[in-house]
Amino acid sequence: MQTEVLQQPDFSMVKVTFARPGEALVATAGTMVSRDTSVQMKTGLRGGLLASAKRKLLGGESLFLNTFTATLPGESVYLAPAAEGDVAEFNVRPGESLMIHSGAFLASESTVKLDTRWGGAKGFFGAGMFLLKAEGEGKVMVSSYGALHPVDIRGAGFICDNENIVAFTDGLEYQVRRIGGMKSLLLSGEGLVCHFQGRGRLWMQTRNPSRFAAWVHPFRRVRSRSSGGD
């Protein structure tokens, strides 16, 4: 399987070309742009109903993953994420797993195993962070809202807003924390952050989807009470 990220960086799209019949790619539902007719698409609950339900409940990403399987060599499928931004490709292999923010997963080779991990939260605010652990061997593609920015983490560690995390190498230790004191947690607008330690690489996205949603919200019309709508 060959992958090529096109149209970088603002509106990236990935072209996946299969080398052999039987090769398969697993992608988040709704990300297919186009495909050759020989490429078969099957909508499924990856890993069975229980694993999928766990991912949906814990990870928040689509319950349905589409599997694209080649029946002829050299045919391809194009995939694109929902938001404007970049796409990056990684190779995972045994001992080199990748942790992916649940919203950033785009696709992976079928030889890659996806497991849902809960990032956990400190303090009494339950909202944690949900991660997919991509392990095994093969290609993984992730997408960013805005640009994708790598940060090499060394001894001193690094703090990243949960909403700006795209992916990080598995060797990094991470802990979800509130930022600053209680006043900062409630009023700073920064929400929860992830504190990284150890050595590895983190990829951040330069825009925050929740912040954008909060920006749009006041522009919605207000439901009038007299109109009888509930």
Partner: protein, 223 residues
């Protein structure tokens, strides 16, 4: 303080290196990431300043980030909407900012909220502007790209496309067309009349136009 703008123009982010003990004030929610030796403190800088900001459509609270522990600190900052950033050197000259354009500034820069065009404000729409004083750097964010214009004499800009301008320019807010109805029908709303010599920065997209286009396509919200 060293500021480096990355991923320009569509997905711009500022990388700021704070010297030990140095502080930066930033708009609520602007922090993307930082080194752990950067301390965050949330405050309004005084009730009146907070209220004025709130009135101007900004957040009541702002965060102050300080590099602690005797080492430099790193901080990444970004705006909400897609677009570019610009760094302004405050001191040699002062600036006015359209209030939503504010992203961050050195703590040595005083940023005060004012109402631009008192009459138009009470007629329903106002423009809140920030005025800088002091010395240091300020990061302003745009929706879309940033177009720099050298004003010599007179110039008119739609208030929704304003980012910042040098305080050597005189300005007044006015209706876009002669009458209120014509002004409203023209879709241009309010404009800013500039006079004098100086630089101004415009954004190539108008946030409230975009918000209104999205808003009327979304289901109504509960008040």
């Amino acid at each position: 303080m060293q500021i480096d703008l990355q991923h320009r123009p569509s997905a711009a982010m500022a990388h700021v290196v704070l010297a030990s003990g140095e502080s930066l004030m930033a708009e609520s929610g602007a922090m993307v990431g930082m080194t752990p030796n950067v301390a965050i403190q949330t405050g309004s800088g005084g009730l009146m300043k907070g209220l004025k900001r709130l009135f101007g459509g900004e957040s009541f609270f702002r965060n102050t980030f300080t590099a602690e522990g005797g080492t430099p600190g790193e901080l990444y900052l970004a705006a909400t909407l897609p677009g570019d950033l610009v760094v302004l050197d405050v001191g040699p000259r002062g600036y006015f900012l359209q209030s939503h354009a504010y992203v961050a500034s050195s703590t040595a820069v005083d940023v005060d909220t004012r109402v631009g065009g008192f009459k138009t404000f009470f007629a329903g729409e106002g423009l809140f502007v920030l005025k800088t004083r002091g010395q240091g750097q300020l990061i302003a964010g745009a929706f879309g790209a940033i177009e720099e214009v050298q004003v010599r004499g007179e110039y008119i800009v739609d208030t929704g496309h304003l980012v910042a301008w040098e305080d050597s320019l005189q300005f007044r807010i006015a209706k876009a067309a002669d009458g209120w109805i014509a002004s409203w029908l023209s879709g241009e709303g309010l404009v800013c009349h500039f006079s004098g010599n100086g630089t101004l920065w415009m954004q190539t997209r108008n946030p409230s136009e975009y918000g209104q286009q999205l808003g009327r396509r979304l289901p109504p919200r509960e008040s």
